[in-house]
Symmetry: C2
Subunit: 116 residues, 2 copies
């Protein structure tokens, strides 16, 4: 599944026509489904919402482990999926990695689900 | 996976706080992830977009099979997942089942992804 997710980037301007305006092409549907898969996991949704609600929409991985109650490797895996899908960016500062919400990424997905 | 999806109803008013406003609770994240799983499939996205773009946002299953190029049982399965998740309603008229977009269902998901 990780491999599939690597082809997605919700920030790509080519994706997509809003879902309800006209039938999606097969290629658009593939791309949007891959993006949705990145969001279709409760841990990833919680991580994304914690980062989004943090100061400057950025959080240290060290502050993301306890709230979701999973191991660091598992949390890092989910953060990588969200980063690959274009929802987060990662930067290393000192010992820790920090994850920041990509401005507009969730809005773009949101807009694909409505008519206008 | 079909069993998991049966607990979802995106029309339920209890779900959810917008993702970016404050951290989702575990229960909210579970519910939203289940909804997202219904959308995280290219065939279901194409079916949903064909129904949404049809006259009165309604389509006969007989008109949904050819566009996606899959068997009727497979198409029916995907339509059932979308119906269970609260995106479509199903009505039988004569020989065929008709599927209609639930007004506001996609909008509610869309709104959960943005701040306001």
């Amino acid at each position: 599944m990780a491999t599939m997710l690597e082809v997605t980037d919700v920030t790509a301007e080519t994706c997509c026509t809003p879902l309800v305006r006209e039938p999606l092409t097969a290629a658009e549907a593939d791309q949007l489904a891959t993006t949705m898969k990145a969001l279709a996991d409760p841990t990833r949704l919680r991580l994304l919402s914690i980062v989004a609600a943090s100061l400057d929409a950025e959080a240290c991985v060290c502050d993301l482990i306890e709230p979701v109650g999973l191991s660091q490797p598992t949390v890092s895996h989910h953060l990588k999926v969200l980063t690959t899908a274009g929802f987060l960016t990662r930067s290393k500062r000192g010992t820790w990695a920090y994850f920041k919400l990509v401005p507009g990424a969730l809005d773009r997905v949101s807009q694909l689900l409505v008519a206008s």
